[in-house]
Subunit: 212 residues, 2 copies
DNA sequence: GTCTATAGGATGATAGAC
DNA sequence: GTCTATCATCCTATAGAC
């Protein structure tokens, strides 16, 4: 029992250190010796906890998405069922951004290195991403059906735009300048209602429509 | 003359190959042997054209931003001076996205690996980024002064959000599904006027305001 | 301009002592 | 569970022939 807890603790400690290194230096630049040194153990000892460098990185990818997914699911679930979808989007965006920046070693490692990993690693992680995407597709789809969002909308494109814009904040957001709550409400206001004061004389045309 | 042209050609060919590899595999994962093989020469020969791996990557970073910067500057310059800023933003977004996806090896290498490079390399490239940021700050600032954009706006934050959202499209946009021109007009419509049909009963509150 | 050859060091992974 | 020691391989960069 104590041994199991200890093993789990060491494993998680190694993942924490590795996530920090991966996000700052990239996947290939980080050596197992580096991860071990950061964790306070020796390189050979890593092989007691993990089978390979790939197993380490896959677990980091999964944790990064799952922490955000769980936080957003909790936030949406806490709303009354009849709440307007616009409110759901606002709440989901805040939960996403809070979790994103709280677990930033995991989430930024995920976003920065995913595209550079071997196909086998990308494929092992992909279902976790797909599951989170689905949550957003459902939320945005409800908005379209309820008439709150433009009905000429391409949901996968709006979802990619929204998630991409939020995730990119890992590269520029500075917690010293403003709270995450404020960041979230500002971004939600722009995404839902726009940065301009009013529509131009000519109609802006259908946004994110289904076809070119 | 022919020799000079040849040298420039080889140099650019090597950069093209290296940019493609860096964007797909990351900085540390790409070896000079790999760049040389992709370019059709041998590793030792690279040192006739470049002093080091760092010199190669710095040039790739600079080219990526400068191509986009030049395209956006050209597009804005072609507008009549009295054109509304909203139109300028639309034109600039389209030019940014067109150049971004046309030179995608350079631009995605830039965005994916910048944060993982040694500080010395980041610092060498930073002025090029700052100069492009300035162009957007001026454009958005004109929008606020002309009354077209919310005057409670924090310009650096709106700029980071906008550029981050567009650049993230490198990770999800598929040219087979829709043209870049359409992508650009859809994103501009959302950013300027929002994805929702109308403001909620309660005012959405100041967006991207200056302070927390 | 491009080549071959190589110096000097770091890497992922394994074997086996404790 | 953690250690040391090691293998085979790969890396950046340089030297010097052609």
């Amino acid at each position: 029992m104590a041994a199991a807890a200890k093993e789990g603790e060491t494993r998680r400690h190694v993942l924490d250190c590795a996530a920090r290194l991966f996000s700052r230096e990239g996947y290939a630049a980080v050596s197992l010796r580096g991860i071990a040194a950061e964790s306070g153990i020796k390189a050979g000892s890593l092989y007691y906890h993990f089978e390979s460098k790939e197993e380490i990185v896959i677990e980091i990818l999964n944790v990064g998405v799952q922490l955000v997914h769980a936080a957003v699911e909790r936030a949406i679930g806490a709303l009354p069922p009849q709440a307007p979808v616009a409110q759901g989007i606002g709440v989901a965006m805040e939960a996403h951004l809070q979790a994103l920046h709280k677990a930033s070693d995991y989430t930024s490692a995920n976003i920065r290195i995913f595209g550079q990993l071997p196909q086998s690693v990308q494929n092992a992680h992909r279902p976790v991403r797909r599951s989170y995407d689905l949550l957003w597709s459902e939320l945005l789809g409800r908005g379209v059906r309820s008439g709150e969002l433009r009905d000429d909308i391409n949901i996968p494109r709006l979802r990619a735009f929204l998630l991409g814009a939020m995730n990119a904040s890992l590269e520029w957001y500075n917690p010293k300048s403003v709270s995450v709550a404020r960041l979230a409400s500002d971004l939600a206001a722009v995404v839902l209602y726009g940065a301009a004061y009013a529509a131009p004389l000519a109609a802006p045309g259908p946004a994110l429509a289904r076809k070119a």
